[in-house]
């Protein structure tokens, strides 16, 4: 005990003696689930823990895959990948990083009780070749293994053994874990202390294998749920940086001489999805589903004045889109980004042609706490559809209440957002949303909008290892969806970071993940 005090005193002295420590105070919109990246499949938690833990590969600031804990890789056969691991990497506790750590981590994350199992869907087994070579076998030819591995973080096997954490925590059996409150990774920062809901402190890892581009010594992470409080904390200098600056406060923040705002568009594309089942659930049309008529779908599309949505509901910050995926996603095709023009009379004529000159009623299911300004754009679009002669009925409620109805297909129209994270590839939306419900595909095909031509293309893309061919297949599938007007695209939603002038530069990518190891302070 005495020794610890002495060490602390020496450390404190060393800190004050050296040039002052650079501390970045980060005010986030919410708390991370835990210190265990495998405990909860949430992109934000993974993004924060990426400062502590690393995967075999990682995304660069412009979302390209680059080597991290693996130095290189090759495919031995269509189903076997061989990874050469980086040598001389040490965990925060000083243990060396070896092939055993990779195998134990993969076993843990793919264990049947692991909440993160879905992030590595193709995994079959792994094998140690030597201390710094690992082979991973997948279920079948699978082109997206590297994408998935960017978010599979590597634990230290010895540390997990010593703390009885080789298996994931399990809420069903009441198994909790040491890793929930403790961390030991290889990343650029170490966890120094954690008080959930209050403050988590990360300090620089001096032994990091990579050459640091940042100059931060300490990160103090505090969740501040209330957005007005977060803005106030930034204005008063209590935090240096927030990764969620509320859109309505951006002008005010930008007007402050000490604060700068970084604004761009997310990967997440927002669109309306229609129920294409046999009948609508809340409508004066009975016995058939008007949405099955492409003319009706086109009428809905043409009736949306997207510029008005952009200007009013999204405060001029969204990016209008005609495509289902954002430009940064492989599978994006500029020609698909063209929208059908806004044409109110054309919409009315299409409705009349389809046999609904007086329109019909239906329900729009929107969520009050999910997408950016969802309430505003849903209201705007509902009003536009009403102007075209339809009778939309807007149902607005929190995500926790709307989700069960959406999953069960109890809706006529829903607002829908898809970011293709963490894999950052159009395959994500294709297999999960566009594919017909069958086997493991089409989990989010809530409105029965499948098409056999699209399914065939997706299935082919799922086993095609040649990237250009694969992307072409995905583009073809997305093109059919566009021709059929299966969905009504709106925009890529805006995202904004705000920081005080203590922050000199940072990298803001459209996946909305803070990468403080690329951040420089003044």
């Amino acid at each position: 005990m005495k020794k610890a005090w002495l060490l602390a005193a020496v450390a404190a002295f060393a800190l004050t003696g050296a040039t002052e420590a650079k501390t970045l105070k980060w005010g986030a919109a919410r708390e991370i689930a835990s210190l265990d990246p495998y405990s909860y499949g949430e992109t934000f938690t993974l993004a924060v823990l990426n400062h502590v833990y690393e995967g075999l590969v990682r995304y660069t600031g412009d979302l390209k895959i680059e080597p991290a804990l693996a130095e290189s890789w090759e495919t031995v056969s269509p189903t076997v990948w061989r990874f050469k691991l980086r040598q001389g990497v040490k965990f925060h506790n000083g243990n060396p990083f070896t092939a055993d750590d990779v195998i134990a981590s993969l076993a843990r994350v793919t264990h049947e009780t692991s909440p993160l199992k879905g992030n590595l869907p193709a995994y079959k087994s792994s094998k140690k070749i030597d201390d710094h070579t690992v082979e991973i076998e997948v279920n079948g030819p699978y082109p997206l293994l590297l994408n998935d591995l960017t978010n599979i973080f590597i634990f230290d096997k010895e540390w997990m053994e010593a703390n009885n954490s080789l298996l994931p925590t399990d809420s069903g059996k009441g198994v909790k874990g040491y890793a929930t409150d403790n961390a030991n990774g290889t990343g650029p920062f170490k966890v120094e202390s954690r008080r959930a809901d209050a403050k988590t402190v990360f300090v620089k890892n001096p032994g990091w294998w990579d050459k640091p581009k940042h100059n931060i010594d300490v990160i103090e992470f505090s969740p501040i749920t209330s957005s007005s409080t977060r803005v106030a904390a930034l204005l008063s200098g209590e935090i240096d940086y927030t990764n969620v600056a509320p859109l309505q406060d951006l002008p005010r923040l930008a007007a402050s001489p000490d604060v700068k705002v970084m604004q761009t568009n997310e990967l997440r594309s927002v669109f309306f999805a229609l129920n294409l089942g046999d009948k609508l659930i809340e409508s004066d049309v009975t016995g058939k589903n008007p949405f099955k008529d492409i003319r009706v779908r086109e009428a809905l599309y043409r009736a949306i004045d997207i510029d008005a949505v952009h200007k009013r509901a999204m405060r001029g910050l969204s990016r209008n889109t005609g495509a289902l995926v954002a430009p940064a996603i492989p599978g994006y095709e500029p020609s698909q980004d063209e929208r059908l023009p806004f044409d109110l009379n054309g919409a009315k004529k299409l409705l009349a042609d389809a046999g609904y000159p007086n329109g019909f009623s239906f329900q729009i299911n929107c969520q009050s706490d999910s997408l950016v300004n969802e309430e505003e754009f849903c209201q705007a679009v509902a009003a536009m559809w009403a102007r075209a002669g339809l009778k939309p009925n807007l149902s607005m409620a929190p995500r926790s209440q709307q989700t069960p109805k959406r999953v069960k297909g109890e809706f006529d129209v829903i607002s829908f957002g898809w970011a293709n994270e963490p894999m950052i590839d159009a395959y994500s939306i294709l297999v999960q949303v566009l594919h017909s419900k069958s086997g493991t595909s089409g989990v989010f095909n809530w409105g029965n909008w499948g098409d056999p031509r699209i399914d065939a293309l997706i299935d082919k893309a799922g086993v095609e290892l040649d990237t250009p061919k694969r992307v072409a297949l995905m583009r073809e599938a997305l093109k059919i969806a566009k021709q059929e007007q299966l969905f009504i695209p709106l925009h890529q939603q805006p995202m904004a970071w705000a920081m005080r002038n203590t922050v000199a530069s940072t990298v803001q990518a459209s996946d909305n993940k803070p990468r403080l190891w690329l951040t420089v302070m003044k």
């Binding site: 005010g27 919410r30 708390e31 689930a33 835990s34 265990d36 405990s39 909860y40 499949g41 949430e42 992109t43 009780t113 909440p115 199992k117 879905g118 869907p121 925590t169 399990d170 809420s171 069903g172 059996k173 009441g174 198994v175 909790k176 874990g177 409150d181 008080r195 959930a196 809901d197 209050a198 403050k199 505090s222 969740p223 501040i224 749920t225 209330s226 007005s228 409080t229 106030a232 904390a233 204005l235 008063s236 209590e238 706490d369 929190p398 995500r399 926790s400 209440q401 989700t403 069960p404 999953v407 898809w418 970011a419 293709n420 994270e421 963490p422 994500s428 999960q432 493991t440 989990v443």
Partner: protein
């Protein structure tokens, strides 16, 4: 007395069981945790497996029975979201809420009692009338608006006090306290005032009403007739006679304060139980929500039972009423 005690405890247990049932019933309709726990990549099979693992596929009665059985043993399960023991989670957050409530209670007495005395003694003065008027505003102004107003004035403009958090805390055993550090005490001021404002007006109005009542009684008149100075009459005699109901109400209000700290905690990012509950609602973390409701109701029921028992101990008539059922007529 033992029979009365037994009856009161039985009542309390019945209330708790009903609360547990309601808590459970409500959460059946809150939403589906599985959809919020898994990310975009998870397949249908994984969704189904998780549902089975969480016991959500079982019938309602079975789920409720399991829940009550475990709760009685103090086991509220594991949080769906962060996989920690729920009871530990709540007990870690309890000190923060308790200290906030303590400060709010202290403020409400320290400010409310003198104001109440003043408005009673000088009830026709302009100041007293203004105070009465302002207190109505204090009751009707929602605490989140008040909190944000305080933050704008004292954090952003004047930069005197922190806008969020608890400052530095000192850990004493399992209890964490912010009272022992300067930054911790500073952080308590704004949320403390925000939470206490309603309470201050309540105490003030109560003291005023009681004082006016007492001042009309004979013994005050006699005291005056004896030529005692008005300070002694007001504080020594009148106020002392008013304090019993004030203390009772303050005690009962502690439960309310704990429950309503939720809003204040959200505004000031105060890491207490309310904050935990709000987060749990966002992520449909049913075990945490259920446990929170039960813990808060438990505090309510305990305080009420204690007050009843104390009254019965002081006033034997109440005991007999309770046993014969006459107490229900109150």
């Amino acid at each position: 007395m033992p029979a009365f005690l037994f009856k009161r405890l039985l009542n309390a247990a019945g209330v708790m069981l009903a609360v547990a049932f309601l808590a459970f019933l409500i959460f059946r309709f809150v939403g589906d945790p599985v959809e919020l726990m898994l990310n975009e990549q998870a397949s249908q099979q994984q969704r189904d497996e998780l549902r089975v693992r969480l016991g959500l596929d079982k019938g309602f009665v079975l789920q409720y029975a399991t829940f009550v059985g475990n709760a009685v043993r103090g086991d509220f399960g594991i949080s769906y979201r962060n996989q920690q023991d729920v009871f530990t989670l709540i007990s870690e957050r309890f000190p923060a809420t308790f200290e906030l409530v303590l400060v709010a209670t202290f403020l409400s007495l320290a400010v409310g009692v003198p104001l109440g005395v003043y408005t009673a003694i000088r009830r026709d003065s302009f100041v007293a009338k203004s105070l009465q008027f302002v207190s109505v505003l204090g009751v009707s102004l929602p605490s989140f608006a008040l909190g944000i107003l305080f933050i704008l004035i004292f954090s952003v403009t004047l930069q005197w006090l922190p806008a969020f958090g608890r400052g530095e805390v000192v850990q004493i055993g399992w209890w964490s306290t912010g009272l022992l550090t300067a930054s911790g005490r500073k952080a308590l001021i704004l949320p403390g005032i925000t939470l206490s404002l309603f309470q201050i007006t309540l105490v003030m109005r109560l003291v005023r009403a009681e004082m006016l009542e007492t001042m009309r009684t004979d013994f005050i008149r006699f005291a005056r007739a004896r030529g005692l100075p008005s300070r002694a009459v007001h504080f020594g005699h009148a106020l002392r006679n008013c304090l019993m109901p004030v203390i009772t109400v303050t005690g009962l209000q502690i439960g309310n304060l704990i429950a309503f700290a939720l809003v204040t905690e959200t505004v000031f990012q105060w890491p207490g139980m309310g904050m935990l509950f709000v987060q749990a609602v966002t992520f449909v973390d049913i075990p945490v929500m259920a446990a929170y409701l039960i813990v808060v109701s438990f505090i309510f029921v305990t305080l009420n039972t204690l007050v009843d028992l104390t009254y019965a101990w002081v006033d034997p008539r109440l005991r007999e009423d309770a046993l014969t059922g006459g107490a229900n007529a109150r």
